[in-house]
């Protein structure tokens, strides 16, 4: 009880309240602008939070992280463009609802589902705290090393179809973390006699380059899109009543969000995908999914909003970030000498509880804000892409230059911006580089520390948690290798022109399209108002 009062006292400080309001409102606005996203915003704001108190800085960043997905649903539903990448599945059912003139219903459902997911995950986090407080001290160096290794493996495995490139980019991230003076003999690694490389490659500079500058370059080199916003009527409160009619879908999706959020390297996409698939299986009207199903919308929005709070679990308990955004937040902890990990639960529980309460309040604030401001937030989607790119370019300068007033840092960030641009053009993953950098550093330190007490290889896994983690790693690796082996097909390098099947597909393509167009028109005429899935 004392801890709770201490946490409430922390949260009632004016600067924390201000940070909470600014973070939540700012996050919603950032989420509502397609092309910005929380990663860009957090990367830019990160250096600015270094001068703040840890709880204030983290509240701002958590506010942006937690609320951007609420805002991201607005363009996903209204203009079929996800505000943040994780709102992609929302477009499947949100936009068809808008086409049917049910935009307000879709928005309301998205807000209520997001609210449920957010609150559910915070409640889980609070309930899990006593367990975490007991389990976290059982994590020594070797357990943290194995957990970080598991994180690296899961990051790679999660990129199905791109595993090789994800592994290579993770390797690149680990390599970047090793550049500079190493901490044992203080010898230089890959500095090529350059003094500016002696202090290593700064994580924030890389993050700003890969996320913010690359996004600025993408926006600056693309065409503007015409955005047409349809007007809709109805109450924004109806979604809360409708959500109550689908407790099973909401509960299962929130559960997936929490579970996937807790596992390092998995994150929102897998949570959304799994909850959407299971909601379709559970539904009485699975055919409505992808055509404006309220259950589909609930599944995707609940799952992605349940992740942020859950993603804080490995970060706070073990000091291991599960994805790029929590990896950025880790640097805020380190700057303020707050070391996340087992010690945090033992010695700074009031800080942890204050963070939980901040997350809870954040969800209430965001929903309240959205209910009154959706009307004008819609207009943020109209900002032209290239103008937005100019704004991000200017803000990126503030982010990079304010770290240590170094033009070299800005040059390095520009190079990583160009690398990020190429990766985005090729649709290759960026997150493995960042996680490789963070987890690579953790793995190096923890493995060295743990090897001091290990005499035989089996000593490494002689503790229960270490053994459990080792078994999980073996299972994940084994199942992945088994799947790759089963799905292995020799590479077909024949040109498309030589394939008879391609000729056939081309021949029927026109007919197929015409057939479906006629069928869609017929269906639209048949039901101008659709209640499927609600």
């Amino acid at each position: 009880m004392d801890i709770l009062f201490a946490a409430i006292e922390v949260l009632s400080r004016w600067d924390v309240v201000l940070a909470l309001i600014a973070g939540s409102i700012g996050g919603v606005a950032i989420g509502a602008i397609p092309g910005v996203g929380p990663a860009v915003a957090i990367a830019i704001l990160l250096p600015a939070t270094f001068s703040m108190d840890p709880i204030v800085g983290l509240t701002v960043l958590l506010g942006i992280y937690g609320s951007s997905m609420y805002g991201g649903a607005i363009p996903a539903i209204l203009i079929n463009t996800p505000g943040t990448a994780v709102n992609a599945l929302t477009t499947y059912d949100g936009y068809p609802m808008t086409l049917r003139g049910e935009a307000r219903r879709a928005l309301s459902l998205a807000y209520s589902a997001s609210f449920f997911g957010g609150v559910f995950s915070v409640v889980c986090l609070i309930l899990l705290s006593p367990v975490l407080a007991k389990v976290a001290p059982m994590f020594g160096s070797r357990e943290i090393f194995l957990a970080a290794l598991l994180g690296v493996i899961l990051v790679i495995v999660a990129h199905r179809g791109q595993m090789l490139i994800a592994a290579a980019l993770t390797g690149f991230g680990i390599f970047l973390s090793t550049v500079g003076l190493e901490p044992v003999k203080y010898s230089r690694r890959f500095t090529f006699e350059q003094s500016w490389l002696a202090s290593g490659v700064d994580l924030i500079v890389v993050v700003l380059g890969l996320f913010a500058l690359s996004q600025a370059f993408v926006l600056l080199t693309m065409d503007d899109e015409k955005v047409r916003i349809t007007k809709s009527r109805g109450s924004l409160f109806q979604g809360f009543r409708e959500l109550a009619r689908h407790p099973r879908v909401a509960g299962v999706s929130a559960g997936f969000g929490v579970l996937m959020g807790m596992i390092p390297g998995v994150g929102e996409f897998t949570a959304q995908f799994m909850s959407y698939t299971s909601a379709r299986k559970l539904s009485k009207t699975p055919q409505a999914f992808g055509r404006g199903s309220s259950e589909g919308l609930i599944a995707s929005e609940t799952a992605n909003n349940a992740v942020p709070a859950a993603a804080m679990i490995p970060l706070l308990a073990l000091g291991i970030p599960g994805e790029a955004l929590t990896a950025m937040m880790l640097s805020v902890f380190y700057v303020h000498n707050v070391v996340p990990g087992p010690g945090l639960f033992q010695f700074q529980m009031d800080f942890v509880v204050a963070l939980y309460l901040a997350l809870l309040l954040l969800n209430v604030l965001v929903v309240g804000f959205l209910l009154v401001s959706t009307g004008w937030l819609v207009y943020l989607t109209k900002i032209p892409n290239r103008f937005l790119g100019m704004c991000i370019l200017l803000l990126s300068f503030v982010g990079v230059y304010s770290i240590r007033n170094s033009a070299v840092d800005c040059g390095v960030a520009a190079v990583f911006g160009l690398i990020g641009f190429v990766l985005k053009r090729l649709n290759l993953p960026i997150v493995p580089i960042v996680l490789g950098m963070v987890l690579g550093g953790i793995m190096e330190v923890k493995l060295r520390a743990s090897m001091n007490r290990v005499k035989t290889p089996l000593d490494f896994i002689d503790r229960p948690i270490a053994l459990l983690l080792f078994c999980v790693i073996i299972v994940v690796l084994g199942s992945t290798l088994w799947r790759v082996w089963r799905e292995w097909t020799p590479v077909d390098r024949r040109s498309n022109a030589k394939k008879a099947s391609t000729h056939f597909t081309k021949r029927i393509a026109g007919r197929k399209t015409r057939h479906f167009e006629t069928r869609t028109k017929k269906q639209r005429r048949k039901r101008s108002y659709d209640h499927l899935g609600s």
């Binding site: 179809g161 490139i165 390797g171 600056l220 080199t221 230059y401 800005c410 090729l426 793995m443």
Partner: protein, 177 residues
């Protein structure tokens, strides 16, 4: 459709060859430099304490994975599509130069004046030439400076040009603009 097939379809093939070959060459270059750029201790307690261990792990992973990816690629011949994509990659270089020019000019000409100049000039360059857009760009620059340097107190030093300003205003400009 499984998510794997979905991902494979979304991965752009044009230009991928150029990227993978360049990345593989860079990885091989790093591998060749590994002995010269890292230290191997004779009296080390364990392999984990070797300064060369983690760079070696990272580079070997890079080399193997990029090479395997190249071997698994459907198309390994450079075509016109790849060239077009490579030209597309050069497009942001112009904006990277704008960015670097801004970075170099700020310590001399000041955060506020340079932000105003960059925002308006880049907006003009991007084709938004109406007074409304230029005004919006200027407003954005001013708000950014006030928010970050004035209110949040981020560390951006005062410019050389501010030294020419009269007494009281000089201090204000160094601290807040």
């Amino acid at each position: 459709m499984s998510d794997e097939i979905d991902t494979q379809i979304r991965t752009r093939s044009a230009g991928q060859l150029g990227f993978v070959v360049a990345a593989l060459l860079l990885s091989l270059l790093l591998l060749v430099n590994l002995p010269g750029q890292t230290l191997w201790l004779e009296n080390s307690k364990s392999f984990a304490a070797q300064p060369r261990f983690w760079p070696a792990v990272a580079i070997v992973v890079m080399v193997i994975c990029f090479a395997l990816h190249l071997a698994r690629m459907r198309r390994r011949r450079f075509t016109k599509l790849d060239m077009a994509e490579l030209r597309r990659w050069a497009e942001p270089l112009e904006y990277a130069l704008w960015f670097m020019a801004y970075v170099i000019a700020v310590p001399f000409l000041g955060f506020l004046p340079m932000s105003l100049l960059l925002a308006c000039a880049l907006t003009w360059r991007l084709g938004y030439r109406s007074t409304a857009y230029l005004g919006l760009a200027a407003l954005f620059a001013v708000v950014t400076v006030i928010l970050f340097k004035g209110l949040l107190g981020v560390k951006i030093p005062g410019a050389v040009i501010y030294e020419l300003l009269p007494g009281g205003f000089r201090n204000f400009a160094i601290l807040y603009l």
